[in-house]
């Protein structure tokens, strides 16, 4: 009897994904500036870069680094393309390389805080306090496990920071300031 009540209470509790979704502002386009600090094993100092970003729902992500090297990364559902001064550095197409979709989807979900999409590759735990939320992602067994140790997301009405800790010992902290 008690168990049944408990299950009912649990069922009534909104899932973490729903809670976070409720906090996030429902915007089709998010733009802002970013600061990235990357601690790479073997380097004396963290590698810093900064620039602007744009996340368009259903379209993709544009990641424009302004310093120290100007470069642009455009990520759509089917393609990752990196250019420098308009010249292509590399491009990966889902038509020839279907796994590209995993990467594009991951980047998009991280920047949009789409926990539902992330849960296919990660175990998510977290908490919501007031308007702020915090999520810890641990990769499920699979290719991503080979790369990531864990990813922490913080935010309120938008994603504020992405902290990626990697198997290689490297770590990347991206701070986002939405406009």
């Amino acid at each position: 009897m008690n168990t049944a009540l408990l299950l009912l209470a649990l069922a009534a509790e909104p899932t973490l994904a729903e809670q976070v979704k409720a906090k996030l502002a429902d915007k089709a386009v998010i733009t802002g500036t970013f600061d990235q600090s990357k601690q790479v094993k073997g380097f004396k100092r963290p590698l810093k870069s900064s620039g602007t970003y744009e996340v368009k729902r259903g379209v993709g992500v544009t990641w424009k680094t302004l310093a120290p090297f100007a470069s642009e990364l455009t990520v759509s559902a089917d393609q990752i393309r990196s250019t420098q001064d308009g010249a292509e550095v590399f491009a990966l197409d889902a038509k020839t390389e279907p796994t590209v979709r995993v990467i594009t989807q991951l980047l998009f979900s991280l920047l949009a805080g789409d926990l539902n999409a992330l849960s296919s590759h990660f175990e998510a735990t977290g908490s919501v306090t007031g308007k702020d939320w915090l999520i810890e992602l641990k990769p499920k067994p699979g290719p991503l496990e080979k790369i990531f140790l864990r990813i922490s997301l913080k935010g309120d009405s938008a994603v504020r920071s992405v902290h990626m800790q990697e198997q290689s010992g490297d770590a990347t902290l991206i701070s986002l300031t939405p406009n």
Binding site: F43, K44, L73, P98, V102, I103, L107, G142, M164
Partner: protein, 744 residues
């Protein structure tokens, strides 16, 4: 007749019945693999084993390619809608990519693609250092291992290029090829549908129907071809077998109006077919579907001896049965031997399928003959009554015109002109299509799948031999350098080779020198940014092929790595490339195998050879006839010759591709056609009954062979058309050249 023969044949027949009971209670193994029909390579046992290896790896797989707007969801719907025990989904290899990564990671300093080597040779260290830093700056620049190990991320790039070999990738628990989802199934048990029910096709079609009509579904795999072939063969065996049987029963009934001749003739036919089947199984282990289709026509050929016996009995009711048969035996024996000789000519070709047909038919004829000889006089007690039908038929012989003198010359000239005109229209075609007949929709689906998932051509490949692993890989690399030129000229889309994954030991050392050099140069450029204690470069051993083959992805390359040679598979080679590939055989240890080309040239050689030999065949048969009939011999042979020419001319007029099989059909026509002449000449005093026997036999034979023309297998169809036309003409023409006996 000889009671010892009767006793011996009874014993053999008992063994035959026992064997048939065993066969039909589940012991019969039927082969449907079309490859089994194809001639084995005349040149190389190794090429054969390579081919069989390639074929075996896919023999039980059914693949379904789902393409459309929402392919992943549609594919799941398909899986749920597919309700059959016969198809078991093949599970996705568990973390196959990771396994491969782990296996190759210790050798990463030795692995470079051709493009990487070319790029690294020209780039300056400054540019390389900048690129390394840029790569680090990307938000998704996570890497395998320490930055200082592989600052330019050459190893992931190598893996990415290798992965391009196949377009299939596991994505979110499904196998994707571009926008399509690939489902793989393994057939449980045998895909053979001996009852003619297309079970796999029905189940797959039902699942297809559950999807949105906009979704495109292509279904392929060897089992579906096998099923289609057996369903088709089943229908054809029934048509030919039962059609012939019905014809015989009708004719026998009309001619003799009594159950005894009917039952006995059917008995001789059944004993022939059973013996053919038994001997085939004993010799070949199993019997091929195409043999069964062709063998069904035996029903209409093996009945000749029985019919001849009863036609004589009917005409001479007072003559003692044993003595009558003794009188008939030399003619029947000669007829049987010439027919068997015709089938033996099929067996000398290097085509296993035809050998089976030949053995089946030759045995069947001999057995039917033995049944007549050993049993008929004993079982056939009582009278064979006269019938109106038989009398009318025999009577037509007296009214049949006879060609002599000027009439003969004019007829020959006219027939010769018409035949020449038709023969000139013949268009030879010697490709493998003559042996295969798969539904076009299956072939199209298979082509679509091969294109979308990037399957190599199964019929053309290179074999590379060497004394040891290192030599084999090095020789393969030399070949690949030449193939790369074809690729850049767009004559070839690409190729699969083991040395793309595992470079030769020499190449591995070269690669290592390059990767370590680049690494040192980049780290030197970035030394201000980096810690002082740079880790020592990776120490690695020689990467061996075995290491790759042990991974689940590498296992797919096993068909490319045989015990004695490597196989290099080709992707979409152009015609031009195929004609030039033979020149690459100048490279040490390299051999180009072109199955399609080999089979075509082999079929052409045999078509020409068997045509030339046919002339010799006529000479030999003429000699045999001369031995018995002397100056009358030409009368038995000429109708067959004319019929052969006209039958071929008809093929020309119909515009059908002219192949080896038409020539082989002419051999059979020669073998059987002379029988009619023999019967008529043999019984020059009993023309009416001989004509009845010839007519009854010919009608059932031409029906049986004519029914083969319905076959969708070109080879069988070719036999059907040629023999159907040919036998009809021989039958109608035979009396033209045999003058009626002087009225007494």
């Amino acid at each position: 007749m000889n009671p010892r023969l009767t006793f011996a044949w009874t014993l053999i027949f008992a063994a035959l019945v026992a064997h048939q009971i065993y066969l039909w209670s589940g012991g019969l193994q039927v082969e449907s693999d079309l490859l089994e029909l194809l001639p084995r390579s005349e040149r190389d046992e190794l090429a054969e084993s390579a081919l069989r290896n390639l074929a075996a790896s896919a023999s039980k797989q059914v693949v379904v390619l789902v393409t459309g707007d929402d392919a992943p969801a549609e594919a799941k719907k398909f899986e749920a809608a597919l309700k059959t025990e016969q198809l078991k989904p093949i599970p996705l290899p568990d973390s196959a990519g990771l396994q491969l990564l782990d296996a190759l990671l210790p050798y990463r300093d030795r692995l470079l693609t051709k493009a990487q080597r070319e790029r690294l040779a020209t780039e300056t260290p400054d540019a390389q250092a900048t690129l390394a830093m840029q790569l680090l700056q990307q938000p998704m620049s996570q890497r395998l291992g320490d930055f200082r190990d592989d600052p330019l991320q050459l190893f992931p790039e190598f893996l990415r290029e290798r992965a391009q070999t196949t377009k299939v990738r596991p994505v979110n628990g499904q196998l994707m090829a571009g926008d399509s989802v690939l489902l793989r199934y393994e057939v449980q048990g045998s895909a053979m549908a001996l009852d003619g029910e297309p079970r796999l096709k029905t189940a797959l079609d039902a699942a297809k129907a559950a999807l949105s009509p906009k979704t495109e579904v292509s279904v392929g795999g060897v089992p579906l071809f096998a099923e289609a072939a057996s369903v088709q063969a089943n229908a054809e065996v029934s048509t030919v077998g039962f059609g012939s049987l019905a014809a015989i029963i009708l004719i026998m009934w009309l001619a003799f109006r009594s159950p005894r001749p009917l039952i006995l003739v059917v008995l001789s036919v059944v004993s022939g077919v059973a013996a053919g089947l038994s001997v085939c199984v004993l010799v070949f282990g199993k019997v091929h579907l195409m043999t069964l289709v062709f063998g069904a026509s035996l029903v209409g050929v093996a009945e000749d001896y029985g019919i001849h016996y009863f036609a004589s009995r009917q005409a001479q009711p007072r003559r003692e049965r044993h003595e009558l048969l003794q009188h008939l035996t030399p003619g029947l024996l000669l007829a049987m031997l010439t027919s068997v000789a015709g089938y033996v000519m099929l067996a000398i070709t290097p085509m296993p399928g035809l050998r089976q047909v030949a053995l089946f038919s030759a045995t069947g004829l001999a057995a039917a003959f033995a049944t007549v000889l050993a049993w008929f006089p004993f079982l056939d007690s009582g009278e064979v009554k006269q019938t109106r039908f038989a009398t009318l038929w025999a009577g037509t012989r007296a009214k049949w015109p006879t060609l002599t003198g000027l009439k003969l010359v004019v007829t020959l000239l006219v027939v010769g002109a018409v035949a020449t005109f038709g023969l000139l229209k013949l268009e030879p075609q010697d490709d493998v299509r003559g042996l295969q007949s798969s539904p076009p929709e299956l072939l199209n689906a298979q082509r679509t799948i091969a294109e979308r998932i990037g399957l190599p051509s199964p019929a053309q490949f290179f074999l590379v031999r060497g004394d040891n692993e290192g030599e084999r890989l090095a020789r393969e690399e030399a070949l690949r350098a030449r193939l790369d030129a074809f690729v850049s000229e767009k004559k070839l889309v690409g190729y699969d080779a083991v040395s793309q994954w595992v470079p030769s030991p020499a190449k591995q050392l070269e690669n290592r020198a390059v990767t370590l050099g680049v690494r040192a140069a980049v780290l030197e450029k970035l030394k201000d940014e980096l810690d002082e204690d740079v880790p020592a470069p990776l120490e690695s051993k020689v990467l061996q092929v075995d290491t790759l083959l042990k991974t689940s992805i590498g296992a797919a390359l096993k068909p490319l790595w045989l015990a004695d040679a490597n196989v290099v598979m080709l992707h979409a080679p152009s015609r031009e490339a195929l004609s030039e590939f033979a020149t690459l055989e100048a490279l040490p240890g390299v051999r180009f195998v072109d199955r399609t080309g080999d089979i075509s040239s082999l079929m052409k050689r045999w078509r020409v050879g068997m045509t030339e030999l046919l002339v010799a065949g006529y000479v030999i048969i003429f000699a045999a006839l001369w031995w018995r009939f002397r100056s009358r011999a030409w009368r038995a042979l000429l109708p067959t010759f004319i019929a052969s020419a006209i039958a071929l001319a008809v093929v020309g007029f119909l515009g059908e591709p002219f192949s080896l099989f038409h020539v082989l059909a002419l051999w059979l026509l020669l073998a059987m056609g002379v029988d009619y002449g023999i019967f008529l000449l043999e019984h020059s005093e009993e023309q009416g009954e001989a004509w009845l026997a010839v007519g009854l036999g010919a009608v059932s034979t031409l029906l049986s062979f004519g029914l083969l023309a319905v076959s969708s297998t070109q080879a069988i169809h070719a036999f059907g058309v040629t023999l159907g036309v040919g036998i009809t003409l021989v039958w109608l023409m035979s009396p033209l050249f045999v003058p009626l006996p002087e009225k007494k």
